[in-house]
Symmetry: C2
Subunit: 411 residues, 2 copies
């Protein structure tokens, strides 16, 4: 795989993630695909850690996704093993054996059960994962475990990503300070539906597994579900949330409990930040595009419309070329067949209204719109004027870079 | 708009379309947008001509689409006026006035009613159509009418098309020879759903309007509905079929009448040929891609899966780069969430099976697949192993050319 230069949308600095009590991690190198960089991460959790997870809706899920789905009902976690380079997807029985070998190896190394070991893999589809190469690294990884290796871990899970993705926040439950850390990877094949590319979030909050799952699902709808790079939903999308319980708060059972309000806010903050980092590292991305649809029949309809705009190759190339061709936004709204009132539709580019009464406004300032499209942060608002549904989607433009990266990913 | 070099997939020669009794046509120049080429077509039909039409399902249809929908129930046609350069879409009341002005002008010129004048426009969205420029050309167009100007007409309706698109076939009804001619245009914003980009088909068969409509709808499902370039459904998709009735056959009422079998075959042949010409002229296309899905729950499910493969930017860029990355085909099947059996899925590239038992076959010949992807005609077959549904979709690869064309279409 060719190395690609760092996205111009990369953050100018990365946050330093604090340690989470009850969690240690380390990154290492298997050599299964990438040379001269780490490609495997081990996370170890203290006893008492609960787990929540969301996964791709693809009917062609990878073996690690099936594994995680199988062990998730148990609700506890002692380890997470992630590798980059080979996704272990569409690998038949050999793929199942590879996840079992990896989970067994980690369970032996850490002295836990294999059904407390979560797994995720990312990279090429269809190649068998050489699990023995991961297992061989586990002793070294165990010896290197530390509370603060978040940046190393974020780097080790990258594939076509051009920068590591990390976010952190603190909040309070019962007056106790709680930390939430997250890392993720993703750049292409990004159109998470009920899940996302690989994202791993951890907190020292004490929360029952069922509560954690409900909190994750809700936060996901306001973060990774608002993201698309290319409309191609991955076979490996996985978001996992681990709670070590060391913060000492009361473990409230109800996800909607008002005493968890600050935690919910902080969780959305971390996850939304991670999701936006993926859009900023979309393959070939030169611009971060935020699309807000309002006035839809309901929120689901608003999301369908926002995604149609975000995934339209004609809209994405217009943004790439700084051609404020708003007619293509009209097209994308129309093609969904979702309820929309053409003659009251209002499109705003960079905050300025472009349309009124089913046509362009007489005062439309094309020079302003073009200038806005030339910037790094593009904002498109569309009111479809039939109801109260709203949704936001983050995406990026479609450039020659996407084609360069994807016309020759495997070589 | 920059001129783009002719698609490498253009046919090596164009068919010569014979005259259709009862139909005359001419092309002319309004100068509304393009310099040095024709941009308007007038087709005139003798009394007794019936009409059928299918239109975009977009909720943002252009004014000409609304006009045609309004007059179609009458079922008769005396004229068709088509212009290229400005689509007259999202133009509010001014757009409605433009279609009325054009239809009234043509009705005056030809001595018919304005509700017998069909209209279609293609080009930029959001600009007002200067109808007076079309009306000013009508006398000249009327004087130039001839039975054989099909190539001129096909050229005059082009926008980003790099070659004109024509097809013809003959068939028999009651032992009478019947001719079917068709022209179309389309290159980007191509993902017709119940309709297509602009396509105009004419025959000398004698058929009642209702029968004609049923025949068109059925043939459309086997032709334009099998086509996608970029998944972006146009606001202007229009396919019109006119029957002058001069062939002297019995006007059978039932579209499924076995005495119309040869006509149905010929109609599908002409329309499928036109649809494939659009795929061959997809913006930036270097390869024609035929995707056949079998074994789906039903035909609708098969089409959803085939379209997901055809519209996947990752699949399209892999084909562009001649990277036989079949894992992306697995991804595209999976992302639809349509029923599919991962562990019995069979993908064939260029006819050779690649997968079995949920993984790559031991005898997979990657060199063969790569060589096949290097060719101009790419064939992908996918059996999803759950039922008897089948569908075929034609598309093209996604190349730097698409981005070049669309990042700066308007300038």
């Amino acid at each position: 795989m060719a190395a690609h230069s760092v996205s111009p949308l990369a953050p100018s600095q990365y946050p330093e993630l604090p340690a989470i009590a009850g969690l240690q991690l380390a990154a290492g190198h298997t050599g299964m695909r990438y040379k001269g960089r780490n490609d495997v991460v081990l996370m170890a959790f203290d006893r008492g850690t609960t787990a929540a997870g969301l996964f791709t809706r693809s009917t062609m899920p990878g073996a690690p996704v099936e594994w995680c789905r199988k062990i998730l009902p148990r609700g506890t976690a002692r380890a997470l093993v992630v590798n980059a380079g080979i996704a272990n997807v569409f690998t038949g029985k050999a793929g199942q054996q590879a996840v079992e070998t990896t989970a067994d190896g980690a369970a032996r190394a850490l002295g836990c059960r294999s059904n407390e070991v979560y797994l995720a893999s990312t990279g090429v589809i269809g190649q068998i994962l050489p699990a023995e190469k991961i297992v061989a690294q586990l002793p070294k990884l165990k010896a290197a475990l530390s509370g603060t290796s978040w940046m190393d871990a974020a780097r080790a899970i990258m594939t076509t990503d051009t920068f590591p993705k990390l976010a952190t926040a603190t909040c309070e439950i019962d007056g106790k300070t709680v930390t939430i850390n997250g890392i993720c990877k993703g750049s292409g094949m990004i159109a998470p539906d009920m899940a996302t590319m690989l994202a791993f979030i951890a907190t020292d909050a004490k929360l029952p597994a069922n509560t954690l799952q409900a909190l994750l699902k809700s936060a996901n709808n306001q973060s990774f579900n608002c993201l698309t790079v290319d409309g191609d939903t991955s076979t490996s999308d996985t978001v996992l949330l681990f709670a070590t319980g060391k913060a000492g708060n009361t473990p409230y059972e109800k996800a909607t409990d008002r005493r968890l309000a600050d935690f919910r806010r902080a969780l959305v903050q971390v996850m939304a930040e991670l999701a936006q980092l993926i859009a900023r590292d979309g393959e070939g991305a030169q611009k971060l595009v935020t699309i807000r649809v309002t006035g839809a029949k309901n929120d689901t309809s608003a999301r369908i419309i926002a995604r149609a705009i975000a995934n339209s190759p004609l809209v994405k190339t217009a943004i790439a070329g700084a051609d404020a061709n708003w007619g293509r936004i009209v097209m994308a709204v129309g093609k969904t067949a979702e309820p929309a009132d053409r003659d009251r539709l209002v499109i705003r580019i960079g905050g300025k209204p472009v349309t009124a009464r089913g046509m362009v406004r007489p005062d439309h300032d094309e020079a302003f719109a073009t200038k806005h499209f030339r910037g790094r942060d593009v904002r498109i608002d569309v009111d479809v004027a039939v109801g109260k549904g709203a949704a936001t989607v983050w995406t990026c433009d479609l450039t020659h870079g996407y084609i360069d990266i994807n016309a020759d990913y495997r070589s």
